[in-house]
């Protein structure tokens, strides 16, 4: 069996912390019920910035595409346990910032620190494994897989994701056992998002709003610390939007942190604890919704007379 690929550790030592959590095998998520994720670690020690409880810290992030500087020396922080809104006019660099933070685009300069750990330049999967998970502006479900299959991809550190464990007879039993536990969690998530009636449908046959739900549900199954949601409400009807926001607040109460890009200003002002305003690739203002609403610069650059 020498050609069976060895059980390689995740590429790059940096992902060790994320990957090894599950390797022990003992920490299979508690069966059903206990869907409340593991308690977030207490205050990360040694945070020298005086920012106290920032889960995500971005310093001087830069990215140029040809002659265009999409993100120009952007710095901001997302505090643990908050819902933070990221707003700005089209082309302000919000989505690029998302891509830079989650590793989908390599920054030309600057630092990203997540949970006290530098994650600049890591691969997307390493960042996701560390607990920083994103959704996309245009939903990216797996169209030719059923809703159940889509969700089953979510949970991280699955035993059967290793080729050798998936095929070797001795290891297979543990894989099946874990799958059975995941099924329980997945059904619970289906119930919470009220898409259980779609469980056996192919994701491609879902409506736009249902896809948003599916993508959010799938991201949550990875048990992230911080969720980056890129326009989660775009194309979602008002009643569903209400439901999604309720869900996000519930999750916030459970200890999740959120960073969301949204264009609906009322939504941002009403539901976010903090707001970051980007303009032409830089951070224009950062603060509580009330402050932002009254910020002269912001009004000039973006909000205009709407406020």
């Amino acid at each position: 069996m020498s050609d069976a690929p060895p059980e390689a550790p995740s590429e790059g030592a940096a992902s060790g912390a994320g990957g090894e959590k599950g390797a022990g095998g003992g920490d299979i998520p508690a069966p059903a019920g206990a869907s409340a994720r593991s308690v977030p670690e207490p205050e990360p020690p040694g945070w020298g910035d005086g920012e106290g409880d920032a889960i995500l810290q971005i310093d001087g992030l830069r990215k140029t595409f040809g002659g265009i500087t999409a993100v120009d020396d952007a710095s901001f922080a997302v505090e643990r346990g908050t819902i933070t809104g990221l707003i700005g006019p089209n082309g302000a660099g919000k989505s690029t910032t998302f891509d830079l933070v989650t590793g989908f685009t390599r920054p030309d300069g600057g630092e990203v620190t997540f949970d006290g750990r530098p994650i600049t330049g890591l691969a997307p999967h390493q960042i996701a494994q560390a607990g920083l998970v994103r959704t996309f502006q245009i939903t990216r479900e797996f169209p030719d897989m059923t809703v159940l299959e889509n969700l089953m991809v979510g949970p991280k550190d699955q035993r059967g994701e290793s080729l050798s464990r998936a095929i070797l007879p001795g290891a297979r039993q543990a894989v099946v056992a874990q799958e059975r536990e995941l099924v329980g969690r997945v059904w619970e998530t289906l119930d919470t998002f009220e898409i259980d009636h779609l469980a056996d449908e192919y994701a491609r046959s879902l409506s736009g709003g249902q896809r948003k739900l599916l993508e959010l549900a799938r991201a949550l199954l990875t048990e992230p610390e911080l969720l980056l949601l890129d326009e989660p409400m775009a194309g979602v009807n008002p009643s569903l939007e209400e439901k999604l926001l309720d869900r996000i607040h519930e999750l916030q109460a459970e200890g999740y942190s959120f960073l969301l890009v949204e264009h609906d200003m009322d939504l941002i002002m009403e539901h976010c604890d903090r707001v970051i305003v980007m303009h032409q690739g830089t951070v224009l203002a950062e603060g509580e919704p009330a402050d932002i609403r009254n910020n002269e610069q912001v009004i000039e650059a973006y909000l205009g007379e709407d406020i």
Binding site: A4, E7, R140, M145, E149, V176
Partner: protein, 471 residues
């Protein structure tokens, strides 16, 4: 390394079972019931697959029995035809299974199948080949080396190329296959002195390749040739063969066909395990949207490389079992058309389904590859077709109401027309049934049944009684 892993898993599994015991007999029972249920699910799946595969095979056999009868073949001739058909179908099934792992599961567009086959075949020639060609090591060593060589070439192709977009990756694989083909023909590998032996592929001429067939034949007679003294096993089978009027070579041909089928069964079981596992689920996710899979923390590059390398090794195995049985093999046995045929077979069967891959292999060999040749023989036997040299003659005669000259042209050029026919079939399939024969099946990538768990939580079981029934 992997063994150690397996051991570790066994350990933890055992611990978990103990924990279940402590929690009370009820939990253990539930777990046992769960286990039985998943086993039964697996059995049901295998049964369904076996039924569809065997019925396809039966249909093709019936067709060939009719065509053999039409050709006036005796029992021996018919059995020989079926043996050849079975052997080719098995070889194609193995290739299609491997390609399905690449294209059907991971979405890797490998159009260099022939190249990965040829590397294995020529490695086999070098390692196990006779005087002047290879080192004369045992055949199993050569076959393992061949699979490793194909896997290594796969890794070389995959490492840089998997970062490319799908279409560029395809071009890389095609390029590699062609490079390999020309390399095998070149003087560069024609003859070398290695470890004190003259080895090499003799340039452009076909080279003698040792074959597993020879070893299977040696089970029947002492030196593997039909005229030699039969072995004990051989005697038994030859006697059975004689009851049905089968001659020794026919019996031995069946022996080798069954030998290749063993490998198909092995590959099917292996690939089914992958398909119904979290690993297979990620492969599908990569096929659907690699970026989204990465965003969920899946190391897609590593998983793509593993699956690509494994598929290449299986292609090499298929190449050795198939092409090496031809006694001599030239590099031109591995033209790109071969890859194209394997793709057609995959699409016929249904990309993304392992059972569909086998069905596709059988249907392709039966209906598109061997069928037309059989039909040609039947028609030439029963009708007095004129020799028509050009399609122009055929068509002009056809226009003036005479059919036979056209038929004559078609019969005389069946090989050529067959390729056109395969192309037409592919177009029709793409338009009418892009999913192939089994592509519409929902094959859920999970190691267990994903329906709502019944025992346990109240809310779950309450909803299950309503939800489980209507789906």
């Amino acid at each position: 390394m992997s063994d150690a892993d397996a051991g570790g898993d066994d350990g933890s599994a055992g611990q978990r079972a103990d924990g279940g015991g402590l929690a009370g007999p009820r939990a253990t029972l539930a777990k046992r019931a769960d286990c039985v249920r998943s086993r039964m699910g697996e059995m049901a799946r295998w049964k369904a697959d076996a039924i569809v595969i065997l019925s396809t095979l039966a249909l093709v056999y019936v067709l060939f029995l009719v065509l053999s009868w039409g050709q006036g073949l005796d029992a021996n001739g018919t059995a020989n035809t079926l043996a050849r058909l079975t052997f080719l179908a098995a070889a194609y099934a193995l290739l299609v299974l491997a390609l399905n792992l690449h294209w059907g599961y991971a979405g890797l567009f490998n159009i260099g199948v022939a190249g990965f086959m040829s590397v294995a075949v020529f490695t086999l020639a070098i390692v196990s080949g006779g005087e002047g060609v290879g080192f004369g090591l045992p055949i199993w060593a050569g076959m393992i080396a061949g699979m490793l060589a194909a896997a290594a070439l796969g890794a070389i192709a995959a490492l840089p190329a998997l970062r490319l977009r799908a279409d560029y990756f395809a071009i890389v694989t095609l390029g590699i296959a062609e490079i390999v083909r020309y390399l095998m023909k070149s003087q560069w590998v024609a003859s070398h002195n290695l470890f004190g032996q003259r080895v090499g592929l003799q340039g452009s001429a076909p080279v003698q390749v040792p074959s597993a067939q020879e070893y299977v034949y040696k089970l029947f007679t002492v030196d593997g040739s039909p005229r030699a003294d039969p072995t004990y096993i051989g005697t038994q089978f030859f006697v059975i063969g004689e009851w049905f009027g089968l001659e020794r070579p026919t019996v031995m041909a069946w022996g080798y066909a069954l030998f290749v089928i063993l490998f198909v069964v092995f590959a099917y079981l292996l690939l089914s395990r992958i398909a119904y596992s979290p690993f297979g689920r990620i492969l599908k996710a990569i096929r659907e949207d690699e970026g989204a899979a990465q965003a969920l923390g899946k190391p897609t590059s590593r998983i793509k490389i593993y699956s690509f390398v494994l598929g290449c090794a299986l292609m090499g195995l298929a190449g050795m079992l198939w092409q090496a049985s031809r006694f001599t093999v030239g590099a031109d046995a591995f033209m790109p058309i071969l890859t194209f045929y394997v793709f057609v077979a995959l699409i016929v069967g249904g990309s993304g389904s392992n059972a569909g891959s086998i069905v596709g292999g059988i249907a392709f060999v039966g209906l598109l590859l061997q069928g037309p040749r059989m039909l040609q023989a039947v028609i030439s036997k029963h009708t007095d077709v004129p020799d028509t040299n050009t399609i122009y003659e055929g068509v002009t005669a056809f226009a003036s109401g005479e059919v036979m000259p056209f038929v004559g042209y078609a019969i005389g050029n069946i090989e050529l027309l067959q390729r056109m026919f395969v192309g037409v079939v592919l177009i029709v399939l793409m338009l009418r049934r892009p999913d192939g024969i089994l592509g519409h099946r929902k094959e859920i990538a999970a190691a267990t049944d994903l329906s709502r768990p019944t025992e346990g939580r109240g809310s779950g079981s309450a909803a299950a009684s309503g939800g489980g029934g209507d789906e």
